[in-house]
């Protein structure tokens, strides 16, 4: 990853959230990988509390390298 994702320690709407208030989990529709923005993603050097929406467009699924547009929640 060449660019650093925006860090949001206190994410607010419009970031999608779960019922418990935590950031929404995003799922790769190609391989099923779950991106958990609350925990961050060490594999892509993504720190905790990074909403999926703020990941750079160049971000790829760490499992199957699918682009962001393959993800849903």
């Amino acid at each position: 990853m060449s660019s650093t994702p925006v860090r949001a320690n206190n994410p607010t709407p419009p970031f999608a959230r779960r019922k418990n208030g935590k950031l929404e989990l995003w799922v790769c529709s190609r391989c099923g990988h779950v991106y958990d923005g609350n925990a961050g993603e060490p594999l892509t050097s993504t720190p905790p509390f990074t909403p999926f929406e703020t990941l750079p467009a160049s971000w790829l699924c760490p499992h199957c390298a699918a682009e962001k547009r393959y993800f849903f929640f």
Partner: protein, 644 residues
């Protein structure tokens, strides 16, 4: 043909068969370049009339993504069986607008991956009659049903559709026969069988069987499991059964693991609280908040006896629980049976299981439970070219109660954590791991790992952001050098290893690819090696799976073949191109090497591709039919041996 959404009315495959390859036309112009072996040993073979150092002299099809398959000129790619085709004699004709789970359980399932050809009669080398055993790994609901989208399907689906998906998972056994017209399915065969995720009863054996962590409301014994999911590749045992390997089983489970006793176990496997499937909405057992132990009943290797359609499939817990890409068998010189398996995820490991008992070639039934006793090990590589197999045995090293392991069952249920603790080497997505029957070496397909950082590279995984993957050779004692017949000691504690090739485009320096130096001129480059098999000369046949990266690389997934010794070592030749957005799986030869079966998986799997507007309608090219995953039988037009 440039508009991917354009309706198609005529099948094109036969026209393409006749297409003249540009490379074959150029072949005569390239005489004179000499070939030196890459990164390995090997004496130059007699080059013969051609200056091409490869022993593989078939014409290469265009290295270009099309909506249709492309086969090496001089070969035929016959679509043998498609999603929805009859498996059982009383299956209804496939109607994509009128599907049901009951019909799907009698029809060929979705997304064919592993293919095994099991000759008839059992134990023979018959190459004209046998059982085609095919994994049906997963489903693409947006291509199976009208009105769904790729990223919306999980919420859009209804229960009937979810159960059709469950029925489309699993495995198919189909009797096939070679005729003058080509291969044919024997529709009324006593052997034909569907194994599904919806209804097929299975048992589990070995240390994890009956363990409290496998018990559920529906199965208080912890020994009886319904179905198998996400079977990627597999293997064939010497006693004529088939091993199928549960891979991304985590995808099917909904519910939040937080607070569950198994939370850490599940998170390590990717179960984080959101499922890529809708099943947990309709079937409680896929919701971990309601059935918290169900995921422990998946992630195993399953043994199937295709010759007995009434046999109950068995999950062999001794082989460990992880995202098994495959489970390939070889008999060691001392008679012990060795099973190799990769754990298909970035930074995961390579495993080996060695049976305690010995294979009995004179009494096949005596081998029935051979896989229930033995030792599972994991690979630790060293940069000095050595490799140690570290046993995962309860009570040894860190695998003790101090680390939460109370028994061998715990070690197997949490195989990944056990492997972490003993210090296994994280690899770049280990997929197929197969022993070469000629040179005795073991070949590992490392598909890719775009998340490896520069500070994490090593000689075994030498590229950061490895987008193209690579192939390693593991050398059991007895297989070094190319002289004489090797006696590969597959049960040894220590192996050596070498790099066979680094995939990518050798004409693009930034890819960092390494092949035979003649690859750009006489062969072709590949990306994302995934599955493999060997021909009777020990040459490596590789199938690729780039995923969505296909659109960036500009090359299709397909079949490549290369020599592994001699002057043509690591010079891949391109043999078959999948249709658009498909991956290539299941390469399997008949014993005479005159047929190569391949599986075209998820044709048309693109982010925007749907049932109504797919990116390809292969293989039917009919407006009323979506694309269909299918098994293709490749033969030479002159009936000769494939690859020569």
């Amino acid at each position: 043909m440039n508009d991917p959404k354009a309706p198609l009315s005529t099948p094109l495959a036969d026209l393409i068969d006749a297409r003249l390859s540009r490379r074959s036309a150029l072949k005569g112009l390239l005489a004179g370049a000499s070939g030196a072996a890459l990164m390995g040993s090997g004496l130059a073979e007699a080059a013969g009339a051609s200056s091409d150092p490869s022993s593989l002299q078939f014409a290469q099809p265009p290295h270009k993504i099309e909506q249709y398959q492309q086969v090496s000129t001089g070969h035929r790619g016959q679509v043998l069986i498609r999603w929805g085709d009859k498996v059982l004699a009383d299956a209804p004709a496939f109607d994509p607008l009128n599907q049901s789970a009951a019909a799907q359980e009698k029809q060929f399932g979705y997304n064919n991956d592993f293919v095994a050809f099991m000759p008839l009669p059992r134990g023979s080398k018959n190459s004209g009659h046998g059982l085609l055993c095919v994994n049906q790994e997963y489903t693409n609901p947006e291509l199976m049903f009208p009105g769904l989208t790729k990223t919306g399907a999980v919420k859009q689906m209804n229960q009937a559709q979810a159960e059709i998906e469950m029925a489309a998972h699993g495995h198919s056994v189909v009797e096939i026969r070679k005729t003058a017209e080509g291969w044919q399915v024997v529709e009324s065969s006593q052997y034909n069988r569907r194994i599904s995720a919806l209804s097929t009863p299975m048992t589990i054996t070995g240390p994890a069987a009956g363990h409290a962590r496998l018990k559920t409301k529906a199965d208080p014994t912890g020994r009886h499991i319904i179905g198998t999911i996400n079977n990627c590749a597999g293997g064939v045992t010497p006693w004529g059964t088939v091993l199928i390997a549960e891979e991304n089983f985590n995808n099917y489970f909904g519910g939040d693991p937080e607070g569950l006793p198994e939370a850490a176990n599940y998170k390590r496997l990717g179960i984080k609280g959101k499922s890529a499937y809708s099943w947990s909405r309709f079937h409680e057992r896929f919701d971990i908040e309601k059935e918290p132990n169900e995921p422990n009943r998946f992630g195993w290797v399953v043994e199937i006896d295709p010759y007995d359609p009434k046999s109950v499939p068995v999950k062999r817990s001794t082989l460990g629980r992880f995202k098994h890409e495959a489970a390939t068998c070889v008999v060691a010189p001392n008679g012990q049976v060795v099973v190799y398996s990769g754990d298909d995820e970035a930074f995961e490991y390579i495993y080996r299981f060695v049976t305690a008992g010995k294979y009995n070639a004179n009494n096949l039934a005596a081998n029935r439970d051979l896989l229930d006793t033995g030792v599972l090990s994991v690979a630790k590589f060293s940069e000095d070219g050595s490799l140690r197999w570290l046993p995962l045995v309860f009570g040894q090293g860190p695998l003790t109660p101090a680390n939460g392991f109370q028994s061998q069952a715990d070690v197997l249920i949490e195989t990944r954590r056990a492997a972490d603790l003993v210090g296994a080497t994280p690899m770049d997505r280990p997929e197929d791991v197969e022993a070469n029957p000629v040179n005795g070496r073991v070949y590992v397909m490392l598909t890719n790992n775009t998340t490896r950082k520069p500070e994490q590279i090593n000689k075994m995984n030498p590229r950061a952001s490895n987008a193209y993957g690579h192939i390693l050779e593991l050398l059991p004692p007895g297989t070094q050098g190319n002289d004489g017949a090797p006696i590969a000691q597959h049960t040894a504690d220590e192996f050596r290893w070498e790099v066979l090739l680094l995939a990518g485009n050798p004409s693009e320096p930034k890819h960092g690819a390494k092949y035979h130096p003649d690859t750009a001129e006489k062969g072709n480059w590949m990306a994302a090696p995934d599955n493999c098999c060997f021909d009777n000369r020990g040459r490596l046949w590789i199938t690729t799976d780039q995923g969505s990266a296909q659109s960036k690389s500009g090359i299709p997934d397909g079949v490549y073949a290369c020599d592994v010794s001699g002057a043509g070592r690591a010079l891949p030749k391109f043999f078959y191109a999948c249709p658009k957005d498909a991956e290539m799986c299941g390469p399997a030869f008949t014993p005479d090497n005159r047929t190569l079966f391949v599986a075209v998986q998820h044709p048309g799997e693109d982010a925007d591709s749907t049932f109504n507007a797919p990116s390809t309608r292969w293989p039917d090219f009919s407006r009323s039919m979506p694309p269909r995953p299918s098994v293709v039988a490749i033969t030479r037009n002159d009936g000769g041996v494939i690859g020569g």
